[in-house]
Symmetry: C2
Subunit: 605 residues, 2 copies
């Protein structure tokens, strides 16, 4: 099951707009913020003790992710500005790489004595992101200068960790090197990188390595068990899904069935026990972690943007590893694309969320301000840059490689899988598939293909119609080559979480096609917490295009719950409602019009 | 409006049992724990630097409250053991009082250089509790040794704060001295103590005193405004209600209408905006504070036992200050007596809650344990003593002076108010009122009185019957002298909070007479969070006596909400219920049978 964004051309519609917003606004904004904060100049290695803008140990990775994203843009656009910036950074990296192959800003100019001394200080994570950037740039430009630098670095890492065991730890605190090394292997064809990837994966969770536990918890960095025994997602959610992505790579390459089983179990555990309805994962701020099954508080949801992106990486690999269940993985990717990942960036493209809560209740904030206490809640507005600014460049590289997720090619059957829907063309080795659609605003797909295709029937879709003969296999509609239409049934629908998520009992979210909707106070005069939806009136909801948001919004007949006696704090139970029109907007659009109360889950009458 | 526990004799039933449990178990247990922790021996002033059991700056007050409670017991029982302990403590206090009149363990043996240096270090609070104990002991025994010591101390305080202004602060961080000085005035008849009381009250919140703000917030210790301008309850809830009690004393004594208005506004603000359905107040752990209106989270409810007791003190004074609305205040007292205050002590009398949450969900705890992070929740089981053990001796003094709350005497009309219901006799100056009842298990009151009486019709009661002529004034049924019966209509009923408490929408609590009920997992096989009550079936609830709890429990026909597909985290909204009998127990009985999930608010179908 192969995929490559370079085989895909987006032509118009939702994702083409996002791709353009990214290349015209987001990528420049992220670079500018990184420049202003000193991240770019840090690569010159000129920082001196006492100066401002002291490099942080994760800065290499922030910029590396930006470079990777910029490389993807170069595959489609003539962008000398981006090329010059990348080349200038590579100049710096080349100049400042140590003799032995090591490259890290912080551990050269700030704390050179601490090289490889602390598992949690992101050295291997930074190395991994630089490697991914080097592979991407080589793929697009054919220029191997950056890749060579990174090969030398990888060789040095092998020396330190495998041959000499001279680092103070065996496996990284923040996973990333694993999937980066696998990519180095796929890019260079050099098996040694795969072996090094395997080394880091196989050593994780071995009893010998427990002395390195971070925050006193072996769960935090998935160090509680060897990889084949990990069946429940634990710990820092970004680390987790990066690890699981690496595990899936290893399972695919090695054909290891036990590892494949672990990957499937982990994916199912995340999506059926620990994932928000928006796709957000990692519910706890403390440790940015997965917690226990069904623990999904809305207002304090951490749900880091990077974790949603990481789940897309993991799901994409699972499609290749477990192709019989490809639809399940593509469903998760679609959920992230339109919701959990996308809420990470503002509609104007230059502001970002790290955390993506499912509820904002400003009363709680008022309380804190007034009392001068610092309780901890997700912020309510997207800033332009963070101190720990991992999410913005992750958005950049994701939105510049969207084609990866749209199509995949099954080399065994010769079929092209249409996994995500966009007005686009897939071309590879003579195969050509053309999808014309205004999805998600119209769920009709016009397909013209010279090879057999499979079209995913999304989990949210309760039926479809087509004018061409087909079979349905594992949630894909399978067609021979030809020209035809397929229309997915798409109506607004109330969706509820399992009763085990006890906080959401009596509540539901509105889903319309791939998008989860939310209600913001800015659209609803009485606030959003006392609004009720009526299941029997959802079918009559009014869908309209909002110029303000550039998205479709939904108006439902609903209710406001009111008190019998407004001056009483407690009174005999009553059900008193006043009719209200409830306006809902796509979740990813929240917080684009000022600070406002927001709920994804609304009360149900 | 006069009240005095010494005019009241409890004969049998609920409160007689509590009074006996207190004098047989609780008062001994609290003394023993205080002895073991060094609080008793600390009064010998023999602690030396480096030794264990270093006195804390609030230890004086812990023991003083115990002494006050013990004094009340002596009014009814021949208890040489308690008398000896009190006298021994007075010996120590007498011996260790400074020449100038000062008495404080911590600021003599631990940090003598810091006397009167820090507003938040409870010196005046400790002094106040010692004064209250001295007044109580004098009232009961007529012995004035302790009272004389405290008079000397009060004179010294006046010298430091009023004459010399030599302390680093003007008003106390933790209020208590105010109502203690008023009591000293009432006990000794010496006006100077009233003037000193007035001094501390009138100086609070003046612009000059803001430099002393605690935790950088003027709200924390009610220092944000002068007392007459305080209309909304803010800050540390125990401090707040002690202050408001002192304000009510001053308003009554001075006839100050503006101050009376402030007291009424504060009381209404607490009970109609910031009080749990159990009577708990002060919802936030951080600062143990009142927050904003309707911010009443259940699982993290702080709702300190001392704050419930303090609200009883405040309400009791408000009955005297605002007698036209006496029923409102007596309602609040009843709510605390059977719920918020009473949950502070275990059924066996020797274990205590400081915090009284309205929900326990052990999933949250599991999460913390596993991940080795310290998130903060109220504890789930009552321990025998706390590091800051203010609540246990507060329970002791409250349960040994219950008569204060049962009856009051209106000196203007000559009527006796029957405010709370217990099998008891009120006797004063020839007036004799006898109430025979098994309340709250039977809501019939048999009353025999030789003076006119008023019987409170509780707010929870929707009607009553009687065999005697009467009028109803301001929620009191008014009778002439005679012998008659009165039966309050009492049925289980669902009660909801205002829709502004958005977390409770769709939920309700069961109330039966004066008691709020809760559901514990130990009684309900499927846990308690997914249970639903049916408003139409509450009338048919089965009420029975539980030997295990020694209380009446209630079984309602209800439901368990279940998923259509148990393996799915998200699915189209459905309403699937299975019938269940839901067992409810009085809230104050929770956590007496091991750690268990608990809810006060249940879902309503």
């Amino acid at each position: 099951m192969q995929y490559n964004y370079r085989n895909v051309t987006l032509r118009s519609g939702f994702w083409k707009q996002m791709e353009e917003l990214n290349s015209k606004v987001t990528i420049n904004a992220v670079y500018d913020r990184f420049y202003e904060t000193g991240r770019i100049d840090a690569f010159k290695f000129e920082w001196k003790e006492g100066e401002e803008k002291q490099p942080h140990f994760f800065w290499d990775s922030d910029v590396a992710k930006w470079m990777e994203g910029a490389a993807y843009v170069l595959s489609r656009e003539d962008r000398p500005d981006l090329e010059e910036k990348i080349e200038s950074l590579i100049d710096d990296i080349e100049k400042n790489q140590c003799e032995d192959g090591y490259f890290n800003i912080y551990f050269t100019v700030v704390k050179p004595e601490a090289r490889w001394s602390c598992r949690n200080w992101h050295e291997l994570y930074c190395a991994g992101h630089l490697m991914e950037a080097a592979c991407a740039y080589y793929d697009v430009t054919g220029r191997d200068r950056f890749l060579n630098i990174m090969e030398k670095y990888a060789d040095y890492i092998e020396k330190v960790f495998v041959k000499e065991h001279s680092a103070a730890f065996t496996t990284p605190g923040h996973e990333e090197i694993e999937l980066a090394l696998y990519r180095m292997y796929k890019t260079t064809g050099k098996k040694k990188f795969f072996e090094l990837c395997r080394f880091f994966l196989e050593n994780r969770g071995l009893p010998d390595n427990t002395e390195e536990d971070i925050l006193d918890s072996p769960y935090y960095a998935q160090n509680h068990l060897p990889i084949r025994e990990q069946k429940e997602a634990f710990g820092h959610s970004v680390r987790a899904v990066y690890l699981y992505s690496g595990m899936a790579d290893l399972a695919l390459e090695s054909g290891d069935e036990k590892l494949k089983e672990a990957c499937i179990a982990l994916f199912d555990n995340i999506t059926q026990k620990k994932m928000y309805i928006t796709g957000g994962i990692g519910s706890a701020y403390r440790g940015e972690t997965f917690t226990v099954a069904y623990d999904l508080p809305n207002a304090s949801a951490y749900a880091e943007t990077c974790a949603s992106i990481g789940l897309m990486f993991f799901a994409q690999r699972m499609m290749a590893l477990d192709p019989e269940n490809a639809a399940k993985y593509a469903d998760a990717i679609e959920l992230e694309m339109y919701n959990g990942m996308l809420s990470g960036v503002s509609l104007d493209g230059d502001k970002f969320f790290y955390e993506n809560p499912l509820e904002i209740y400003l009363t709680d904030r008022h309380r804190l301000d007034m009392l001068n206490y610092s309780e901890r809640w997700p912020i309510t507005q997207r800033p332009k840059v963070f101190g720990c600014s991992c999410c913005p460049p992750n958005i950049v590289r994701l939105l510049s490689s969207l084609g990866n997720y749209m199509y995949s090619f099954d080399e065994k059957s010769g079929e092209v899988y249409i996994n995500q829907f966009a007005d686009s063309v897939y071309e590879k080795d003579g195969a050509r598939v053309e999808v014309s659609t205004n999805y998600p605003y119209d769920s009709t797909l016009k397909i013209k293909t010279n090879v057999p295709v499979r079209v995913r029937i999304p989990e949210w879709c309760h039926g479809f119609g087509t004018n061409k003969e087909h079979t349905v296999k594992s949630s894909y509609a399978c067609f021979e080559a030809g020209e035809f239409e397929l229309k997915l049934t798409m109506n607004p629908e109330l969706v509820a979480s399992s009763v085990n998520v006890v906080r959401n009992l009596g509540k539901a979210a509105l889903r319309y096609g791939p998008m989860i909707y939310c209600a913001e106070a800015v659209d609803n005069a009485d606030g959003v917490h006392k609004l009720y939806l009526d299941p029997e009136k959802i079918a009559d909801a009014n869908i309209s295009y909002s110029e303000e948001l550039g998205r479709e919004v939904i108006d439902c007949e609903g209710y406001l719950r009111v008190d019998e006696k407004t001056d009483k704090l407690y009174a005999p139970y009553s059900r008193k409602f006043e009719p209200r029109i409830v306006r809902l907007i796509p979740y990813h659009c929240f917080a684009n019009r000022g600070e406002s109360d927001m709920v994804v889950y609304l009360n149900v009458k």
